[in-house]
Amino acid sequence: MLRFIVRRVLQAIPTLLILSILVFAWLRSLPGGPAAALLGDKATPEKIANLNHVLGLDQSIILQYFKFLGRAVTGDFGNSLVSAQPVMSEIGTFLPATLELGISAMIIAVVLGIPFGYLAARFRGGIPDNVIIVLTLVGVAVPVFFLGYTMQDLLSAPLGLPSQGRQAPGIDATAITNFAILDGIMTSEWDAVWDAIKHLILPAFALATIPLAVITRISRASVLDVLNEDFIRTANSKGLTQPVVRQRHVLRNALLPVVTTIGLQTGALLGGAVLTERVFNFRGLGFLLAEGIEKRDYPRLQALLLFGALVYVVVNMLVDISYGLIDPRVRVR
């Protein structure tokens, strides 16, 4: 197991390196640049050119890349041009919000998605199946921001759920880890915990729709596959009770592709978080990314995109490891 992990970590290095080149080249190939974005209306072309010169953005891209790489290996990703804060500390500040949102969304997606999928498969062709299939189609098709705005307008007021931010203005919660719920538990500020949960509900559901729909569909397909397997027939014919067949034989075998999907969806969550966080003014990494793109904030975008890639790599590694836990047949050597 340890060797497997080490190997995957080593594999990740060239991946990230290639990605860093792509990210770097892509950012700089975008029209416009940070100088024009930073200086706004008042900047003359001369002043923009001057700022570009001061920032070294008029040097060759290759030179710029190696300078960036030289600093990056020491952990220095520079300061955001928008906020003038070190990007690494920005990520530290904003990551807890995204994790809180992302984990909540994934919990919703998994807790609802697997039972829905199972239900649809069991009653294949029946009403539950049809309803679930239509809903998942809608879930995948509706853009997150549209859903977000709709939820704000239609659900926020009737349900008494906040549509903005992470905390109510007057709550005065003590920040320790920046995980609002965890902080509240640690300091026994239970009203702050409840407040943080309320603020999470709408954005988490908005963000969960796509993974929920995907997980439901995959679960359904996977359960259907397994139900047709010989060993299920065998299990049934040897007289095992239905709950045992379901738990031990159907679900466990059907879970494998679902876990892969959960992994992939977790990686893709950062993309959805950009829109969700923006719409709900939920200050996390996606919020940071959106602002960075608007202002062509190279240092911030470089760090965030590489961080996103790193998350993807790690999540995939965890998925591979979890295979072994679910299915001894693919236990890694």
Binding site: G32, K42, A49, Q64, A84, T93, G165, I185, F280, N281
Partner: protein, 558 residues
Amino acid sequence: MQQLRLTRTRRAALIGLAGVLAVSLSACAESKRDDAGGGGSGGTMVFGNTGNPKMFDPVFTDEGETYRITRQMLDTLVQNKPGTADLEPSLATKWEPSNDGKTWTFSLKQGVKFSDGTPFNAEAVCYNFDRWYNMKGAAAQSQMIYYADVFGGFAHNESSALSDPLYKNCEAKDPNTAVLNLNKPKGAFPAAFTLPSLSIQSPTALKQYDADKVSQSGDSFTYSDYAYKHVTGTGPFKFDSWDQGKGEITLVRNDTSTMPAPAKLDKLIFKVIPDENARKQALKAGDIDGYDFPAPADYGLLRKDGDQVLVRPSFNVLYLGINQSGNPKLKDPRVRQALAYGINRQQFVQSKLAEGSEVATEFVPKAISGYTDDVTKYPYDPAKAKDLLKQAGASNLSLKFYYPTEVTRPYMPNPADTFTAISQDLKNIGITIQPVAESWNGGYKDDVQQFGKQDIHLLGWTGDYNDAGNFVGTFFGRQKKEFGFDNPDLFKALGDADASPPGDQHAKAYQEANKQIMDYLPAVPIAYPSPAIVVNEKIKGVVASPLTDERFNNVTTG
């Protein structure tokens, strides 16, 4: 079966463990809550800021996001009378130019202290002027946009984009008299003394926190601690904290302020909410008490909810740029006139812009000295436009029309709508339009202003201070890629106007220049759009300013 039971036991154990963990965590983490309740009775206002401020030293930025906050804490020598663009005393009770316009004598208000307790006097004023002039380092200078605009350059210019410095020296004649000596007169004064960038800050604090230290490493900047958390001025509020994670900047009342008095509010919080719809939702939910630049389409809805939409008098101009180096036909004045006659500006303003907006007849809004009604006007007349095109042999004119996307500006709430309306009018007089849409930060400004790729384009300007030169001087004072024409007479007229001594003569010089501009028609002024600010029904004492110069010192939360 046994295995299943085991898993269940394990699960229970895990949950138990988590519980123990939480309890032990809570034992080691102390709640830092202040249960004493609010001390003062002036209340708190939370205002939605449209973007993240970079830092709070206004001299290193040209962004409204920073100014909106610093103008609550810092004062300038001269200020705009609330709700107008007229000048009134601030830190200076009187300001007098010499006859040649090269010397400005400021009589200073007495009994003023910075929030760190140090006195405000002529020495402090001169310290600030000297600080700007002597600023070292390309990183610092490259960001002093307004200083460089007004004062040309520095003691040691670190870029060829800068010119000779206007500043000579500053003398503290006595504690209450500061004398500013310039190398040549400048028409922007005294109005430019109102610029937030030229706010007077505490010399002691500036020195203590090394305010001039702006460093650059790789492709980024770092500022001093002063700029992040120690900005110190004389205003009714003072800096308290900046929570990056929450995006909240908190100011508290400056109890020693005599500019003009401590704020009525206890606390003023700026909450950064970049998304326009999110700001609206936050106001609806009561998370914020007001925000800037509501979308014109929302005015009605906001008012229905009881919010106050305060429309600012216009200090902007939206224009249709014409690039004479683009399509050669545009060199013909008749073609440019045809564009002006062909656009139904009245209808555009009424149907697409917010209330308070007006049709533009020149490039200077009405509130500015130097505006004159006595210019050549081009009322909507499509028949005449077609006729002019025919005379110029340009009946089959085809134009590359550049317009920006992904942006709203105070002078252009909806660029795509604006483009559609104007291009429809131009099509109606027989012009073929080739639309080119580019994102604002994605090269639009480069292509239009630096490379001049367009034939015609949309752009505008928000005024910085009450001087016509800030508008027409910026647009047409020299040869520019954006407009692609060379008109030495016009350049000279604008240069002379800028150098003319302040007062009536100055205004007259610009009135003449404005007439000349509207005869030559280097571009078509479209509208003077009015942006707004919105606060909820409880907030009192916000006065909408044409210069977005709203100071919240008199605000109460009713």
